[in-house]
């Protein structure tokens, strides 16, 4: 049984449809080509550039039963990066890649001839496809190419150029959103003491963010993001010594990060002493 493959490429999107159903591939091929034509017309208004057509044919190596190998290409002069191919795979014998310049109507005729079918509808389909093809305008287009099934082509050079440009001119900036609730809490205590910052942040993480335990890293992340401040281990140790903060034991034995929690004494200190 013959297999048919229809491939479509637009920018970095590649669509491939493989089937043994000739009728459906004919139908889809026409629909996609017509849509591509419409897209090209709308997309290329005002551009007025032309490119040379490139048309190539590549042999396909598959395993079907028919000895003949038929391939053809569809050349569109639509948008620069839309390519569509429809081909019948017949297989095994390797032939030197012929350079066939053909249109969809010829492909349909060839398929019908090989299959020995004699459909009146195919003539109408061919006429319709001819009309749509003749109306296509020339602009920044790439030719339709047959692609070897065993290899997938890498993205176009446009992608590489954009990637290179973005590397040279990075535009990413980390988010600098501040926590207003946290800031209000800190400002309400009217203090700039780092020890107080530790207790306030520990309270905030426990009560507002509902963390049962927190690490020094989390404390500093909150402080740095909002106040550009950081707490060192000596300050944390002082809080532990005064029983405001306690170390939560790692029962799993696999944690690499020490975690702490605010004690009741610490909460009282936050409420009354800051």
């Amino acid at each position: 049984m013959s297999r048919y493959a229809f491939t479509f490429k637009k920018d970095d999107i590649f669509v491939e449809f493989i089937t043994t159903d000739k009728e459906i591939v004919e139908k889809q091929f026409q629909v996609w080509v017509a849509d591509a034509d419409d897209y090209a017309r709308g997309h290329n208004q005002g551009k007025g550039k032309r490119e040379n057509e490139k048309e190539e044919a590549k042999p396909q190596n598959l395993q079907p039963s028919n000895p003949q190998e038929v391939s053809s290409q569809l050349t569109t002069h639509s948008s620069p990066k839309i390519e569509a191919t429809a081909e019948e795979f017949i297989p095994v014998k390797e032939q030197s890649p012929p350079e066939v310049l053909d249109k969809a109507s010829t492909l349909l005729k060839t398929i019908n001839t090989i299959q020995g079918t004699d459909k009146a509808n195919s003539e109408e389909q061919i006429a319709n496809s001819n009309v749509s093809l003749q109306g296509m305008s020339e602009s920044n287009d790439e030719a339709i190419q047959k692609e070897d099934f065993s290899t997938q082509e890498a993205p176009t050079s446009n992608f590489e150029a954009v990637l290179e440009q973005s590397i040279e001119n990075p535009t990413f900036e980390p988010a600098k959103t501040q926590d207003k609730v946290f800031l209000n809490l800190v400002h309400s205590k009217n203090t700039t003491d780092k020890f107080h910052y530790l207790i306030i942040t520990a309270y905030y993480l426990s009560e507002f963010e509902k963390l049962q335990r927190f690490s020094l890293k989390q404390i500093n992340a909150k402080l740095m993001q909002n106040l550009s401040e950081a707490i060192d281990h000596s300050t944390l140790q002082s809080a532990i010594n005064q029983n405001f903060v306690e170390l939560v034991p790692d029962l799993t034995g696999v944690s690499d990060v020490a975690e702490y929690k605010l004690t009741l004494v610490g909460e009282e200190f936050f409420a009354n002493k800051i």
Binding site: M1, F8, K10, D11, D12, I13, F14, V15, E16, F17, I18, T19, T20, D21, I24, Q28, V31, W32, D35, A36, D38, Y39, H43, Q152, P155
Partner: protein, 51 residues
């Protein structure tokens, strides 16, 4: 592929729909032509609308 339906051999076609965008690749295999056509139509509209 050939299948039997009430003792008669009928031709059942296979349909494979593949789409690749960047690193993402999806593949759909089915013998349900209606479903595959729906997907083809949907993705065609989607692709063509992206300018």
């Amino acid at each position: 592929m050939l299948t039997l339906d009430k003792g008669r051999k009928i031709m059942q076609h296979e349909y494979v729909f593949k789409m690749k965008k960047g690193d993402i690749e999806i593949e759909l295999k089915s013998d349900d032509i209606e479903f595959v056509e729906q997907q083809l139509n949907k993705w065609r509209e989607d692709i063509m609308q992206k300018g």
